[in-house]
Amino acid sequence: MTATVGVVVFPGTNCDHDTLVALERAGARAEPLWHGTPSVGHVDAVLLPGGFAHGDYLRPGAIARFSPVMAAVADFAAAGGPVVGICNGFQVLTEAGLLPGALQKNRSLRFVCQPADVRVASDRSVLTAGVEVGRVLRIPVAHFVGNYICDERTLAELHAEGRVVLRYAENPNGSIDDIAGICNAAGNVVGLMPHPERASDPLLGSTDGLVLLRALVDAVGGAAGVPSGPFDVVNDRARTA
C-alpha cells in the first residue's frame, strides 16, 4: 500500500512543487490539494508546505487558517491523520490552533536563509518515528518569522511529553529553547521551520530531509514499490544518485 500525501497549495505557497518531488522521492504518492476545496480527499497524510500563503498579510498564517481546506485539515488531524507543516505551514498550524504557541519575527529582524543543523529531540512524532533521538540532520532554514514562542506552562508540557521534536544546534532566530519543531500531544500533527524538501538531493548539499519525509511515509503506509506520477524521472535519478 503506497502512502498518498496531499500537499496544500494556498495562493502564495511557493514550496509545493519541491515538496511534491521530495515526497515522491521519499516513496510516497504526492498530490496537490487546492486550499479552496473544503476536503482533503482520500490522502493518508497532509503536508502544509512553505511559502507566503495569502501574502502573509496581517500575520503569516492568519488568513490561511480560514481557507476552506483548513476545516477539513482540522477534522483529519482530530481523527488522527498525520498533518505536517513546514515553515509557513508551521505558522498556519499555530494560527489554526492545531499546535500551541506562536511564531514571531526573528530576534535579529533579518531573514535567515542558511543550512541548519537540527537535532532530533523526540521520536514521538509522525515525522521522526523510527529516527534515532540525538541524530543531527542538516536541513536549510529560510524564514523571517521563525522565532517560536509559547508560555512557560506550554513549554514545560512540550518537554515533559516529548513534544519538542527538533532543536537547533545553533539557534538562528531566537526561538525559545532552540526549538525548531514541535508536535501535538498525539504526535500526529507536527510543525517545523526547517525545509526537509530542500535537503532531498545530493545536489542540494544534503539528503537529510529525506530521513524525516521517509519516516512520515513509513508511518502512514509505506513507500511505493514502483515510481508513480509525473516525477518518475526525478525519482529514478534519486535512486541512482
Binding site: R59, A62, A96, A102, K105, S108
Partner: protein
C-alpha cells in the same frame, strides 16, 4: 425595519507585555542619534481601520471584538484595543448585511483558536 448606521472603527494590535519586540527596540536605539533622548519604551504594533454596518455602537463594538480576537490578532502574543468606534457622519445603509440584529457575528471566542 430598524435604522442602522455605519461605524468607523480603529483597532490597535500590539504585542502583549513581556513579549520581546525587536522592532520597538531597534527604533528606540535609533532615537538618541536623532536627539530624542526623552523617548522610552517604544513598542511597534499595527493600527487597522475599517467600517461596520450595525444597529448601534454596541453591536459594532461586538463585531469588532470578535474580528479582533479571531483574525486581526493572535491572542497568544498580541492584545487588541478598540481606539475608535463612532458613527460615520451622515451614513445610513439599507438593512441586510447588518450586524447586531441577531447577534450572528458576536459569538466571540467560540469559533476562534483554543
Amino acid at each position: 425595519m430598524p435604522d442602522v448606521g455605519r461605524y468607523e472603527v480603529l483597532v490597535e494590535v500590539r504585542l502583549r507585555p513581556g513579549i520581546a519586540d525587536p522592532q520597538g527596540a531597534t527604533v528606540e536605539r535609533a532615537l538618541p542619534a536623532l536627539g530624542f533622548d526623552a523617548v522610552h519604551r517604544v513598542r511597534v504594533g499595527k493600527a487597522i481601520r475599517f467600517e461596520v454596518d450595525a444597529a448601534d455602537e454596541r453591536a459594532a463594538r461586538s463585531v469588532t471584538a470578535d474580528l479582533a480576537g479571531r483574525l486581526l490578532s493572535n491572542p497568544v502574543i498580541e492584545d487588541t484595543e478598540v481606539l475608535v468606534c463612532r458613527p460615520v457622519d451622515g451614513a445610513t445603509v439599507a438593512s441586510g448585511a447588518v450586524a447586531g440584529a441577531h447577534d450572528v457575528h458576536t459569538e466571540a471566542g467560540s469559533g476562534g483558536r483554543p
